[in-house]
Amino acid sequence: MAGMFALANPKRFMDASARFLPWLALAAGAALAAGLLLGFLAPPDYQQGTTVKIMFLHVPAAWTAMMAYGLLALASFFSLIWRHPLADVAAKTAAPLGALFTALGLITGSLWGRPMWGTYWVWDARLTSFLILLFLYLGYIALWSAIEDETRAARAAAILALVGAVNLPIIEFSVNWHTLHQGESILRADGPQIASVFLWPLGLTALGYTLLFLALWTVRIRTEILERRTRTLMLAEPQ
């Protein structure tokens, strides 16, 4: 916690992130490359055939999309309680990335659904709540651009983000409701219900996606900090 508050100073964040960013990017690239290679070498599943290869893209994208929303909501909470500008920046910059991973989860999911379920899309609890996640991201981004005053935009967007956070447990538990989507198979009390030839590439691509998100998020936070500094300078000495 203390470490997080130390990082919550823009100057310290710039210094620290400049040091850890190259390693983060390297680790993301290595995990993704290894995961995708193992994924391609993995044998076809006895029921799903080669479509099991879509799992290595779909599950990590969906997981990263949800993690990104969790982080966006957490940053929004800090922004509302402590009014910290870096929390606003963190929340704002997470949204486009979250929307991207959500869209990738939906697209790869429907390309997997067509051969396995016989349909690209069904309006069931899991798929619909995940589509709502995309709309929450898009609404969040739209709200930021609709309100000109940065402080007011940050507050309104933070409230939307926190209200929308109720969708996360709905997505999480909806696999147990009436749905075509397969149930939880990895994080189970009785251990993963998936063969290790598939678990390894899945674990590595999931790690790669997570690290890639964190690396891109860090770069976007740095960009926003630089842009805000530029705006402040321009206001201070009008050209």
Partner: protein, 49 residues
Amino acid sequence: MSAWTDMGGYGAFVWPAYGVTLLALSVAIAITLRAYRRAKDRLAKLEKT
């Protein structure tokens, strides 16, 4: 080679999934890096004057 592109009959689903993902992630990385470089240059120019 055709077994590879055919993907056991599921090539029409597996390859687009990989194609869309790799394209989208590459574009996201490129856009993110370009915006960063631009922000850095703009600030550097402003701080010089």
